[in-house]
Structure formats: structure tokens, C-alpha cells
């Protein structure tokens, strides 16, 4: 669980940074200076790393037994600038931290009635 969460977070930061570079540096450069290096080459690099992101994020979602639509949001987050970081924080708060806490205290509390 901890390893899966770490893999996800690493990939989230990498794809998140790359897409911000592409959108906020590469595209202005392409438009203003007709320099297509960043938007093309970094863009393609992001494309391939996004495949890795999708696989890693999907494996984490399966481990966490996440509901359907949050999983879809998680997978799409790698394609939208800035949202990657927002979703990473939300993932940590909503799913990863509770799961890690439950993992470290696995004893089931008895239910009285």
C-alpha cells in the first residue's frame, strides 16, 4: 500500500510538472517564438509518462477500493494542468491517509448492540 501510494505520488508530480511546462511554457513559446521544442518533445514525453501514470494510479485505485467516478477523476487528472496536484492532495486526504492509518491499526473493533 505504502509503495503503491509512493509510486502514484511520484508519477503524479512528474506528469503534473511536465504538463504545466508544456502548457505554460511550451505553448507560449510555440506561439510567440515558433520554438516547438518544448511543446513537441516534452509533450510527447508527457504522453508516454502519462501511460505510466494511468497504470500506477489505476493499481492504487484498485488497492484502495475506490469508487468508480473518483477513480476516473484520478486517471484524468494527469491530463489537466494544476489539477494533478489538487487531486494528489485530495487523494492523500480522502483515501491514502485513512488506508495507511487503518493498515497500522488492523484490529477490528467489536460492535456492541
Amino acid at each position: 500500500m505504502r509503495a503503491a501510494a509512493l509510486r502514484y505520488r511520484v508519477m503524479a508530480y512528474i506528469t503534473g510538472v511536465l504538463i504545466i511546462v508544456v502548457c505554460f511554457v511550451g505553448i507560449p513559446l510555440q506561439v510567440a517564438a515558433h520554438n516547438t521544442f518544448i511543446s513537441n518533445d516534452i509533450g510527447t514525453l508527457h504522453g508516454f509518462l502519462y501511460i505510466v501514470y494511468v497504470v500506477v494510479a489505476y493499481m492504487l485505485a484498485q488497492k484502495l477500493k475506490m469508487p468508480l467516478w473518483p477513480t476516473i477523476l484520478l486517471l484524468l487528472a494527469g491530463t489537466i494542468p494544476v489539477l494533478t496536484f489538487v487531486v494528489e492532495r485530495w487523494m492523500n486526504r480522502t483515501y491514502i491517509a485513512p488506508a495507511l492509518a487503518a493498515e497500522s491499526a488492523p484490529s477490528q473493533q467489536p460492535v456492541s448492540r
Binding site: G47, F48, V54, K65, P67, S112
Partner: protein
């Protein structure tokens, strides 16, 4: 809690000192006995696959179909750009179909999980009760819930006394084991219900 004379004066709050149970099986809960692993007490009427035609599932199917063809179309568009001389598009020509296949695999797994769950003979009310029981066990005694925060079909059953020797009651132990088993099943499969109640 459900008897008229013990209704709290303020409708807005209810003491959480009882056990949340499904209305159907919970009205006379002293008679509760956990089902055997093999029997299927509340088998839904009709074939199991009927759930695939529920509106929320139809919406999911539609979403997958549109996404699948959309991604193939994008791959085709990139292919034409690549043939037209844009070398970078070759990468995306293969990437889009990959994503399309991934979407179909994801869709198939949601359906497989749901079949698993429904063949287990566990009703939604049982699952909600199991989830609520786990939540309540983590609350301090005397915690309050706003009225109406219980899911439909759930009632609070009053405790006889706080913390009476629970461990010695074999019936209670069996019931707790049943709840733990349900909880494990909820964790495993019930994505839709968790989405609705989270």
C-alpha cells in the same frame, strides 16, 4: 429510539447508542441469526445480470462507448497527421488505442466486481448496515447524529445497557463475525454503494 414514547424531543438529533440495522431484518433483531455461508436467503428476483439495465449502469455503459469511440477517433486523426508528415503523431497514433483498450478493461472489471458482489447474496441494506456499524464502533459513546443522516431503510436499535459483558454472548459474537465478513465484502467490491454514501 423507534418506539413513540422514547422519541427525543428535538427531531434534529438522535442519540447513537444503538445498533444500525436494516429495517427488513432488524425490526425483531433478537431473532437475528447469521446466515450460513452457503445459503442465499435474499436472492433477487430475476437473473443477476438485470442490474446492467439500471439507469446508472446504462449511463456508465454509454460513457464507456462514447469514450472508446472518441479515443479511437483521436487515434485515427493522429494517424492521418502522421501519414501527412507530422512525425510526432506516430507516438499518439499508438497511444490513443492503448487508452481505449484500457477503458474497456476498466469497464469490464467494474461489471465483474458487481457480479461477484450480487452473486454473494448480500443485499444493499446489509452492506449499509455493515458500513454504519463500523462507523459507529469508531464513535465515542453518546455521539449524536443529525436526524435523517441514516441511509434509507436503516433504523437505530436501542442498546439494553452500555457495555454489558458483550464478549460472553455467543449470539453477539456470531453477529459481529457476520458484520466483519460483510465489511470485508464491502471493502472488496461495492464501489457503487460507496460512491453513493461517501
Amino acid at each position: 429510539m423507534e418506539t413513540p414514547d422514547s422519541t427525543p424531543p428535538a427531531e434534529a438529533e438522535a442519540y447513537l447508542t444503538g445498533q444500525v440495522v436494516p429495517k427488513a431484518s432488524g425490526s425483531d433483531h433478537a431473532e437475528f441469526d447469521p446466515p450460513e455461508p452457503d445459503d442465499d436467503p435474499q436472492a433477487p428476483s430475476g437473473p443477476v445480470w438485470r442490474f446492467l439495465l439500471e439507469p446508472r449502469w446504462l449511463g456508465w455503459h454509454l460513457f464507456v462507448v462514447v469514450a472508446f469511440w472518441g479515443m479511437l477517433w483521436l487515434g485515427d486523426w493522429q494517424f492521418h497527421r502522421a501519414v501527412g508528415g507530422n512525425g510526432l503523431s506516430w507516438a499518439y497514433t499508438f497511444e490513443w488505442p492503448l487508452f481505449a483498450v484500457f477503458g474497456v478493461v476498466f469497464w469490464a472489471r467494474t461489471i465483474r466486481d458487481e457480479f461477484h458482489l450480487r452473486r454473494g447474496g448480500v443485499t444493499e441494506a446489509d452492506l449499509v448496515a455493515a458500513a454504519m456499524a463500523k462507523t459507529m464502533a469508531s464513535l465515542p459513546s453518546g455521539a449524536m447524529l443529525p436526524a435523517g443522516s441514516l441511509p434509507d431503510g436503516m433504523v437505530v436499535q436501542q442498546l439494553e445497557g452500555p457495555n454489558d459483558a458483550a464478549e460472553d454472548d455467543p449470539e453477539l459474537a456470531a453477529y459481529n463475525a457476520y458484520l466483519a465478513k460483510l465489511n470485508a465484502e464491502v471493502k472488496g467490491h461495492n464501489k457503487w454503494l460507496r460512491a453513493l454514501h461517501s
